[in-house]
Amino acid sequence: MATIRVQTADFDIGAELARLTASRVDIGGIGAFVGTVRGGDVAELMLEHYPGMTERALAQIVARAEARWPLCGCTVIHRVGALKPGENIVLVLAASTHRQAALEATAFLIDWLKTDAPFWKKETHTDGSTAWVEAREGDEIATATWLAER
């Protein structure tokens, strides 16, 4: 059973790892990814979403990963709202009996989250200007690669 959450609050990576592995002895490896707000000329990142719809999209992405790798468990937590540079945005954990499946599933999940999860990011720059973040070509190529590898 995957854990999928969208929330404004920060997440506790240790607590989420403990929750994922509680009472489990079949897990041989856990892949983990934590996305954080990159600073530079960004003063604030505002993440918008639509409650319910976004979680459904996340569930579909997780289902794709579960169909592709033998996962023992999976956690996807995405934050929304106003975030400052250095703050956590997203946590992806994928547990499997072997490390390769766990690591590949983690990479798959984060690549698909970047392109298919309905979040919109608005950057406020240090000079006060704002801009919605467009989809990056590199992200599209990453998901296309996963499709090609099927």
Partner: protein, 446 residues
């Protein structure tokens, strides 16, 4: 005390579908309203009003806001009776039993969505304009209820505006119309304030143009505008020329559609949506008006509650919020409900099957009551009938014409057509046979 017991009993009767279900009836948007209040988080298409009202649950159980809803409906019906004369417990309970047995009223009251506030707008405006018999504290409470009932959903603004206009026409005096307009003005102020604070945009509906554009596109009025104005207009929508989703829901909600694939989604798309919608309305005003009336006509006839009873998307909306914010016992209660198990539609079928027929019959009876009351110069009953029938049409216009016809939208308000015949019967009964009037302090303030 007797009045309180009667109102509480009425509320309990209205909650029977939730009791049958084993849990308050929910909709996927209920999860969004919980998220809206518990994070808190501004959602682009939802006023920040109903979510905070749901906070009555205290993160313990959703039965508490359900209790609030059914008691409020029962109380408003009691006050409506009081506007006609000293209220009787027997009549109140008989009326609620009838509503609970043959109309969508208990299903809408048992649903944790803003829907139940649409009929309360109608009763509220009636009570403000024709409730001279009610005491000052009761009238103040009705003001607050009506204001909130208008503010919880944008379509209620249209219903309220139509009713205030009718009050002016029926009373032919400014004072009652201004009194009736006060909650509408308050609701607008509340919406503007919450949007200014939450979205940084002081407006009634900062992103509402996206809905309007989806409807116009569904009616085929957007493609001709794109053909005429693209690519010079520089709209993102130009890239969709010739392949816009014809269905307004798909236009609005598909992740691959024009709204959601725009960086910034509907929030960023709203400005362009206003521009394109304006161009479409200017180009084809009569066609747009004709389509709106046709959609309104379709909406008036859709009165089944069935589409609010399905389990679609509930695990990842309501189920998820319960697991995020509520104790495990509440999650178990929800999971055990007929609706969560996908059994509520079948369980409800014997009770809701005849509701459209019953509502059609009572709509005709309401018209007859209106004619009779007007003939007999019973201004109060005639006015209630007019307000209810007009509200049904305004509701159909606001939902069907501006969004898309759905059964749930009209079922929420259509049950009011039972009231004019019921109050007509009450008025023709000899005083002694109406049941004993509960002594009420507010009944004496005339």
């Amino acid at each position: 005390m007797r009045a309180a017991l009667t109102i509480a009993s009425g509320g309990l009767l209205l909650a029977w579908p939730a009791l049958l279900n084993g849990y308050p009836i929910v909709f996927s948007d209920t999860g969004a309203f919980l998220f809206q209040a518990l994070q808190p988080f501004m959602i682009w298409d939802k006023p920040w009003i109903y979510g905070p009202l749901l906070m009555l649950h205290g993160q313990t159980t959703l039965w508490l806001p359900l209790a609030g809803q059914v008691l409020l409906v029962s109380w408003m019906l009691w006050q409506t009776q009081a506007a006609f004369g000293p209220p009787s417990a027997r009549f109140h309970l008989t009326l609620i039993v009838a509503l609970a047995a043959v109309t969508p009223a208990p299903w809408v009251a048992s649903l944790l969505m803003p829907d139940i506030f649409a009929p309360l707008v109608v009763l509220g405006v009636f009570l403000i304009a024709w409730g001279e018999r009610l005491s000052r504290p009761v009238r103040c409470a009705i003001y607050v209820v009506t204001l909130v009932a208008i503010a919880v959903h944008l379509s209620h603004l249209i219903i309220a505006a139509a009713l205030v206009t009718l009050v002016l026409l029926l009373r032919l005096r400014w004072r009652p119309a201004l009194l009736a307009a006060a909650p509408l003005a308050g609701a607008i102020a509340l919406l503007v304030a919450t949007n200014a604070i939450g979205h940084g945009r002081p407006g009634i509906s900062p992103f509402g143009s996206v809905f309007m554009l989806a409807r116009l596109n569904g009616d085929g009025l957007v493609e001709p505008v794109l053909a005429r104005r693209c690519p010079e207009a520089g709209w993102r929508l130009c890239a969709w020329q010739g392949r816009l989703p014809a269905d307004s829901d798909e236009f609005l909600w598909s992740e691959q559609g024009p709204v959601w694939s725009t960086p910034g989604g509907p929030i960023a798309f709203a400005a362009e949506a206003s521009e394109v919608a304006r161009a479409a309305l200017i180009a084809s005003p009569l066609t747009a008006a004709g389509n709106a009336l046709a959609n309104m006509g379709r909406q008036v006839l859709l009165v089944r509650v069935g589409d609010a009873l399905v389990p679609d998307h509930l695990p990842l909306t309501v189920g998820l919020r319960l697991s995020q914010f509520f104790p495990p016992a509440e999650q178990h209660r929800f999971a055990a409900s007929l609706q969560a198990r996908g059994e509520l539609v079948a369980a409800a079928e014997p009770f809701v099957r005849w509701q459209p027929t019953v509502l059609a019959v009572f709509a005709v009876l309401s018209l007859l009551v209106l004619v009779r009351a007007a003939w007999r110069r019973d201004a109060r009953l005639a006015s209630l009938s007019v307000l209810i029938l007009a509200a049904c049409l305004a509701n159909a216009l606001a939902t069907g014409a501006l969004s898309k016809p759905h059964h749930r939208y009209q079922a929420r308000i259509a049950w009011l057509v039972l009231l004019p015949p019921a109050f007509s019967i009450r008025g023709s009964l000899p005083a002694g046979t109406r049941g004993s009037a509960a002594p009420r302090p507010d009944a004496s303030a005339r």
